[in-house]
Symmetry: C2
Subunit: 271 residues, 2 copies
């Protein structure tokens, strides 16, 4: 019942590959210390609760950190339900499997400074409240959305749900400022509730809203962020065909929220 911590391969019949039956976290690590660690643990625990997968002991989740050297790295943790069960039925008891990998990492300081170009994606996310917010292993929608562009100048793609509401980007959350107020899409129907988003919601007056893409017409600033890259100001928004539909000049308003995010991640403020 305790998750096996290992770096080796996945068993042939692991339900992680058979059904995407599991969860993952990608964690920024500086000099062996994980950033936003409580937020990552909280999301993983919530996912384990929803899926009914026993949560590994904190010690098992932290064990890989001893192998992280100086500087920045990314710890990717994957937790699956393990093998067993008849078809979709759950194995009882389950034998969860934990695997991890540490990789060197460097964020894009140029994107912090200059901002990024993003586009709307054609794909719309299915609505599944039971899985909303979780970082689970069923990510084909993200894969298909990310395949909508190949040019290196486009940094991210914005995703709406099947009813047309803005949700997130393919691997980042959204925040915007409208009439001086900060807003981010509610994630109770679909999307991944990022750990950087959680921290920003705690530390800044950001309102969770239902919003359609037209809401972006009037915003003073738009950001994308996650716990690895920090916060990117958006300088240009394209439609799904790659035609520009909005430009923003990166200014002091952008830098204020960015500074808050970067403080949480130990990144420098951008001036």
């Amino acid at each position: 019942m305790t998750a096996e911590t290992a770096k080796d391969d996945w068993p042939l019949e692991d339900r992680g590959v058979a059904y995407g039956d599991g969860l993952f976290e990608t964690v920024l690590v500086r000099d062996g210390r994980p950033l936003l660690w409580e937020q990552h643990l909280a999301r993983l625990a919530r996912g384990c609760g929803v899926l009914g997968i026993p949560l590994p002991a904190r010690e098992a989740l932290e064990a890989p950190l001893v192998e992280a050297g100086e500087g920045l790295s990314v710890l990717k943790l994957i937790l699956t339900r393990g093998s067993g069960g008849r078809g979709y039925a759950l194995p009882i008891p389950s034998d969860p499997q934990l695997r991890w990998r540490l990789s060197p990492f460097a964020p894009s300081a140029q994107r912090w400074r200059q901002g990024v170009r993003v586009r709307h994606c054609r794909l719309r996310l299915g609505i599944q409240p039971m899985l909303a917010g979780l970082k689970h292993l069923n990510r084909l929608e993200n894969v298909l959305a990310r395949a909508e562009w190949t040019d290196a100048d486009t940094a991210e793609g914005l995703l709406c749900d099947s009813e047309g509401r803005l949700v997130e980007a393919t691997c980042m959350n959204l925040v915007w400022q409208r009439d001086g107020k900060l807003e981010t899409p509610r994630l109770d129907r679909c999307g991944v509730a990022g750990t950087l988003r959680s921290v920003l919601l705690e530390r800044a007056p950001i309102h969770e809203v239902d919003a359609f893409p037209s809401a972006l017409d009037g915003v003073e600033a738009l950001w994308l962020g996650n716990s690895l890259q920090g916060l990117w100001p958006v300088a240009r928004l394209d439609d799904a065909a790659g035609t520009p539909i909005r430009h923003w000049t990166i200014g002091p308003a952008h830098r204020r929220l960015q500074a808050l995010a970067h403080a949480a991640l130990g990144y420098p403020p951008v001036t």
Copy 2:
């Protein structure tokens, strides 16, 4: 670029486990011959086209069959995009990985004869037309739906989409007869288009319809089926709390469609 055929483990970083980035097929095999093989190959090819995964050569997909002995077995094929890519972005070129397992199999003749008890599930399937019909590896919805009951008397659970339309059961398709006409849910928004369903659509006058659960109130017969189990008549339908809401007496109308399905699978007719 050719898929590696093997029975060993999955590489640690395979996108099959990271994202559920792949497809599978479960094939009934009799005396080394796969049943509904052209339908399985066609669905796999369609999935490869949608996901942009190179389709393995037919010879690679058929290679495991030489290990099947006499009698009935199930061949499970899993094809993933392999490792690589930056995050969700596709690796170019991709290095697809094919794994398989043969297992002995016996269908439930008692369920053929007596029919089954099924229930409505609470979970509703997200609407994702891009993935509809495919047997892809993102199956957490099926896992969660199957976890809604644990009693052995309940054979399957019926699933609706997020807008309330009937779609399928957790691992089977639905057919019913109403006013003498055969109907099955359209699968252009979500659900898996089963190979037995494909064969029945070719060989019987079955209409693909949009239908809500209330449509079942007036049907003369309801069946669940897939290419392993054949066709089960439904004798009792429960609500999501397990309370019976409909009973059917299994009769000649049930047996006619069942005989057609069983002929396609080499199963005996049921009298």
